[in-house]
Structures are given as structure tokens and as C-alpha cells.
């Protein structure tokens, strides 16, 4: 029983974004990259729990990206994943999240997977596309916004909770499947130094993207992206809050409501 987790390398959330000269993306010059930590770390932690508590055996981690994406894979290995696969993309290869899903699907044909796990969304593109698209390309069911996960491996069933507007749904469904995790049972562990060192020696296989191109072309949508970014723009920086001066709570309320009505026009 194998788990395949998908991680993305994204700019550190603290990075100050600048627009690239092309005007179509952010400028990667001098940017620090990290594992998609807000969401993928939570998912990797949940995958580790599946292994530790529910008898899943191997945990493999895959990323589609340039050579530097190896660092994100090493982070996942340091958390406890067993093996890694990097689908190495040249810098000039145009990608969109659906095409990334096609590359993962093409690579996954040769990687055993009873559970495929993705994060809720990437911190950069915030698409939330890869998971359920991967379900389609792998011809597997997908379950998203999962908040509570308990496999019953003997029956190939997952008992889950998922977020729906207005509440939560308790449901069961079969696996193999693709899961997107909204919230794991535990906060992500921080890799210890010995584990970071060990991770450097764990197997990491590199597959050049072009080796998968034939398989990718065979999937609906083909080897080219179906979306094209025309512009990447930054809003003017937030000036910080306009602070309301007041002597009494009533005065604060009067002034605030007036501003919300007349200036912000949101009431």
C-alpha cells in the first residue's frame, strides 16, 4: 500500500514580490524558495500519519519543477518520506496547473499509488487545480477539502470528513483515490538535524520532462498549456490602516460606521 504525495516549491511567503521584466510573472532573481509550506507540509504530515498509524508502507514524493525543486523534495524526505521523484522542467517550458497534473499523471504510471495526496492549493498560484485534475487523468476518484481521514485498508475504504458550505460532511468512499487535505490531524513536524542529513542520502530520481512528453501528449489537453498568463500585476502597497481617533466607544462606532458607509461604501 503506497502513498504518492505531490509537493510544489514556491517562493517563501515573506518574499517581497517584484514583477519580472516580461510583465507576466514575478521576478525570481534573488527570491528564496521553499516547500509549499502552508499547505503541502500539512499534507505530508498527514501522509506520514497514514504510514505510522494505518499500515501504509511506502511514501514517495513527487515534484514537477526546475532543478532547484529538489530542495522541496529533500524537505519532504527530511520529514520522513522514503523516496523522491523530480520531473525536471527546463526554465522555458510553459506550464499551467492542468499541465502539471498531466506530468504527474504521466510519471505516476510507473510509481505505485494507492493514495495520491496533494495540498489544498499552491501558495503562489492558489489554483487548487492539480488534485482533482489528477483524479481525472489517473481515472481515480478525488476527494477534496478533507479534514478528517481514517482509512479502513481491509475494505479499501476511506472514512472522511470534508468541508462543505454550512458544515461538514461525514462520508466514506473507496480508494485508490486522490485526496486534497484541508487540515491534517497534527501540525507538521520540523525535521531534526539527523533526519535532514539522512534525507540527503535517500533515493531521488530525476526524470527529464521531455522523457514524459509522449505520455503527456496522450492525455486530454496534450503537451501544451491551455492557459496563458498575459500580465502579472501588483496592487499599490497597502498604506496601513486609517486609524480612527476617539474618546468614547460610541464615538469610535459613529466614526467607523460613517467611513464604512461614505468612504469605503461597504455598508
Amino acid at each position: 500500500m503506497d502513498i504518492l504525495v505531490c509537493v510544489k516549491q514556491v517562493p517563501d511567503p515573506e518574499t517581497k514580490l517584484r514583477v519580472a521584466p516580461s510583465g507576466k510573472s514575478f521576478d525570481t532573481d534573488g527570491v528564496k524558495f521553499t516547500i509549499n509550506n502552508t499547505y503541502d507540509e500539512a499534507m505530508v504530515e498527514e501522509a506520514l500519519r497514514m504510514k505510522e498509524e494505518f499500515g501504509f508502507t511506502a511514501l514517495r514524493v513527487i515534484s514537477v519543477g526546475p532543478p532547484r525543486a529538489e530542495e522541496a523534495l529533500r524537505s519532504a524526505l527530511a520529514m520522513g518520506a522514503d523516496e523522491a521523484v523530480l520531473v525536471e522542467t527546463p526554465a522555458d517550458l510553459p506550464l499551467d496547473p492542468l499541465l502539471v497534473a498531466r506530468y504527474i499523471a504521466a510519471a505516476a504510471k510507473d510509481i505505485p499509488h494507492d493514495l495520491v495526496m496533494v495540498g489544498r492549493q499552491a501558495q503562489d498560484d492558489e489554483a487548487g487545480v492539480v488534485g482533482s485534475a489528477l483524479g481525472e487523468y489517473l481515472d481515480l476518484p478525488s476527494y477534496s477539502f478533507v479534514t478528517d481521514l481514517a482509512p479502513v485498508p481491509a475494505n479499501h475504504l476511506l472514512k472522511m470528513k470534508r468541508y462543505v458550505e454550512g458544515g461538514e460532511e461525514v462520508f466514506s468512499a473507496p480508494f485508490p483515490a486522490v485526496l486534497s487535505i484541508l487540515k491534517g490531524a497534527k501540525d507538521p513536524r520540523t525535521p531534526t538535524l539527523p533526519n535532514i542529513l539522512k534525507a540527503r542520502k535517500k533515493p531521488l530520481k530525476k526524470i527529464p520532462a521531455k522523457d514524459l512528453e509522449a505520455k503527456v501528449s496522450a492525455l486530454q489537453g496534450g503537451a501544451k498549456p491551455t492557459s496563458d498568463i498575459l500580465a502579472f500585476t501588483l496592487p499599490p502597497p497597502r498604506a496601513g490602516a486609517k486609524m480612527i481617533e476617539f474618546q468614547t466607544p460610541e464615538e469610535a462606532a459613529e466614526r467607523l460606521i460613517k467611513l464604512l458607509k461614505e468612504e469605503a461604501r461597504v455598508l
Binding site: 511567503p13 514580490l17 514575478f26 502552508t38 499547505y39 497534473a101 503562489d124 498560484d125 492558489e126 489554483a127 487548487g128 487545480v129 488534485g131 482533482s132 485534475a133 483524479g135 481525472e136 481515472d139 476518484p141 478525488s142 476527494y143 477534496s144 477539502f145 468541508y163 462543505v164 454550512g166 458544515g167 461538514e168 460532511e169 461525514v170 462520508f171 468512499a173 473507496p174 487540515k183 486530454q220 489537453g221 496534450g222 491551455t226 492557459s227 496563458d228 498568463i229 498575459l230 500580465a231 502579472f232 500585476t233 501588483l234 497597502r238 496601513g240 490602516a241 486609517k242 486609524m243 476617539f246 466607544p249 469610535a252 462606532a253 459613529e254 467607523l256 464604512l260 469605503a264 461597504v266
Partner: protein, 330 residues
């Protein structure tokens, strides 16, 4: 360029959600701006008699219906299968709109993958492209940047709630056509919903409400959290919280806004006694207007807020509540 738009709606208890109505209204508008075409509503689910009536009154040309037991619980694989059958009834150039709800966010990419379509989620603006296709805008990097994206061929979009106006629908009496879905693929079978835990009672849903009032640890006690709920009630707003409130057991996890909670984008967000930790901020930065009430003038929340009140939430909240109530009376 004309355009045919299929809107796959999300229903709650058999009724079209406001976010579905927004998507339908925007579909009518995009078709008009494209120089003509048609809007079709696609209803997928089980027990859709009411939704059918509502769909008929939306000023659209057709209503397609897949009303069947096997669509009782939401399965992206099953719904995408049905949606593909519906799409096949329409001619190109075709765009499919969904509301960006939990259901829409999962269904849109699957449908996009099925159709090899240009796909985008959490869309906040839509323009017909100069040479066909659609140009959209969406927020990225936690609201720190905007992408303008050109989508090619068939287009699948999920539309962010609260980002599109609902315009009055013109009169019409569209036909309702049942769609023969046929045998579902193996990947679309076996999902069984045991029960739905409603966490909101009759208050509006966080991810869909135009106004959200949230409370944090600064409220000091579970009892004081009622002050947040009272203001929300007067404003017709949804109630949210920071994780600290959930961890303290004051309110259930469904209230939590942020990285491990809900990501919201209301017109107005009022944060009371919330410090503004990065994990909270990622859930709110796309709000149109943010108000912070916090005792500490140096709290990080004031950096992202539009309006700040440096003061005691325990006294300011009741003052706001009675003022809003009085204004309503006037």
C-alpha cells in the same frame, strides 16, 4: 464572437445558492458582451424540483437536468461525467461557469481536465478575448498580486463568491431537458454520505457572506464571544474566528478563518481582538475592506487593515451593535 455558456450550479437543500445566481448573472453579462450566444443552466443532483423552478426564472435559454439518486452525494468524478454530457449538448465556442464553492472548486478542474479546457479557479473578473476565448483576472500570492490570464478553446471557470453582482433576470420560459447520463464509470461509484453536520444554524455561511465579523483571543472569554455574534446579527453577517478561539474551545472549528480554516473574500471583514498572524491573514487578504479592532496599536493586523480602531473590543463592539441597530430603526 458569440459564446455559449453552461452554468453548473451548486445547490443547498435543493435551492440555488447565491453564488450560483452570481455565476448565472455573470454568464448573461459575458454573453451580452461577447455579442450574443446563449446561457444554459446545468442542474446536477437529486431532488431538484425547486431548483428547476428557480433555474427557469433566471432569464436563460435552456435548463439541462441530471436529477438522479446516484448524484445525491457530491462526487467530482460523477458530477464531471454528467457535466460532460451536458456540455456535449451545446455548440462551440463554449464556456462552463461554476461558483467557486467547495463543490465548484473540485469539479471545475476535473471537468477542465476531461475537456482539455482552459481552466481557472477563483476568478474575479471575466472579459471576452479579442480573438475568441476569455480573459480573466484572479488573485494570487495571498492577494498580493493579480494575474490576467487568456484561456484558450473551451473554457472552464469557477467564479469567486461575492465578486460578481446579481442583476435582475429578464423574463423567459426556458425548456427543461433531462439529460441521459448513462452508466457511471468505476471512479464515480461508491461514495456514501453518512451525515451532514450543520455548523451554522441560520447564520450566513462564512465563505459566501458579504460581511464577516470575526473574534479572537482578545475577547478574553467564551461568553464575550457573544459580542461578536450580536454585531454580526445586526449586520446580517457571518461569524468567524481565529484559531486561538477554536483551540480554546470557545467555538467549533467551522468558525476558523485562515490557513487551516476557511479562505474568505467578503466585501467587509471586521476583526475583533485578532492579532493578525500570517496564518490568519492568508484567509482574509482578498477581502475588499478590512476593519481591525485591537487594544494594541502595534498589532500586525493594522498593517493589512483599511480602518483601525485601537481600543477595547469589549466596549467598542456593543457600541457598534447598538448604533447599527439604531440606524436600522431610523
Amino acid at each position: 464572437m458569440t459564446l455559449n455558456v453552461l452554468v453548473i450550479t451548486d445547490q443547498r437543500e435543493g435551492h440555488l445558492k447565491p453564488s450560483s445566481l452570481e455565476a448565472i448573472s455573470e454568464a448573461r453579462s459575458v454573453v451580452e458582451r461577447s455579442g450574443g450566444g446563449s446561457v444554459t443552466i446545468g442542474l446536477i443532483g437529486s431532488g431538484l424540483a425547486e431548483a428547476q423552478k428557480e433555474a427557469k426564472s433566471q432569464g436563460v435559454q435552456r435548463v439541462l437536468l441530471a436529477d438522479h439518486e446516484s448524484f445525491k452525494g457530491f462526487s467530482a468524478a460523477a458530477y464531471a461525467f454528467a457535466a460532460e454530457r451536458m456540455a456535449a449538448k451545446l455548440s462551440a465556442p463554449l464556456a462552463i461557469f461554476l461558483p467557486d464553492t467547495a463543490m465548484g472548486r473540485e469539479l471545475a478542474p476535473r471537468l477542465g481536465a476531461k475537456l482539455g479546457a482552459g481552466t481557472a479557479t477563483a476568478v474575479v473578473e471575466i472579459q471576452p478575448g479579442a480573438s475568441g476565448g476569455l480573459q480573466i483576472k484572479r488573485k494570487v500570492f495571498g492577494g498580493k498580486a493579480t494575474e490576467t490570464v487568456n484561456l484558450l478553446g473551451t473554457v472552464v471557470l469557477s467564479l469567486r463568491p461575492n465578486s460578481f453582482a446579481i442583476h435582475p433576470a429578464p423574463a423567459g420560459d426556458p425548456p427543461v431537458e433531462p439529460v441521459e447520463v448513462g452508466e457511471l464509470p468505476a471512479s464515480a461509484k461508491g461514495l456514501a454520505v453518512e451525515r451532514v453536520i450543520s455548523t451554522r444554524g441560520d447564520t450566513p455561511e462564512l465563505t459566501e457572506a458579504p460581511i464577516v465579523v470575526s473574534g479572537g483571543r482578545g475577547l478574553k472569554t467564551a461568553e464575550n464571544f457573544v459580542l461578536v455574534e450580536n454585531l454580526a446579527k445586526e449586520l446580517g453577517a457571518a461569524v468567524g474566528s481565529s484559531r486561538a478561539v477554536v483551540d480554546a474551545g470557545w467555538r467549533p472549528a467551522s468558525y476558523q478563518v485562515g490557513q487551516t480554516g476557511k479562505i474568505i473574500a467578503p466585501q467587509l471583514y471586521i476583526a475583533c481582538g485578532i492579532s493578525g498572524a500570517i496564518q490568519h491573514l492568508v484567509g482574509i487578504t482578498n477581502s475588499r475592506c478590512i476593519v481591525a479592532i485591537n487594544k494594541d496599536p502595534a498589532a500586525p493586523i493594522f498593517k493589512v487593515a483599511d480602518y483601525g480602531v485601537a481600543g477595547d473590543a469589549l466596549t467598542i463592539l456593543p457600541a457598534l451593535t447598538s448604533l447599527v441597530a439604531r440606524n436600522k430603526g431610523a
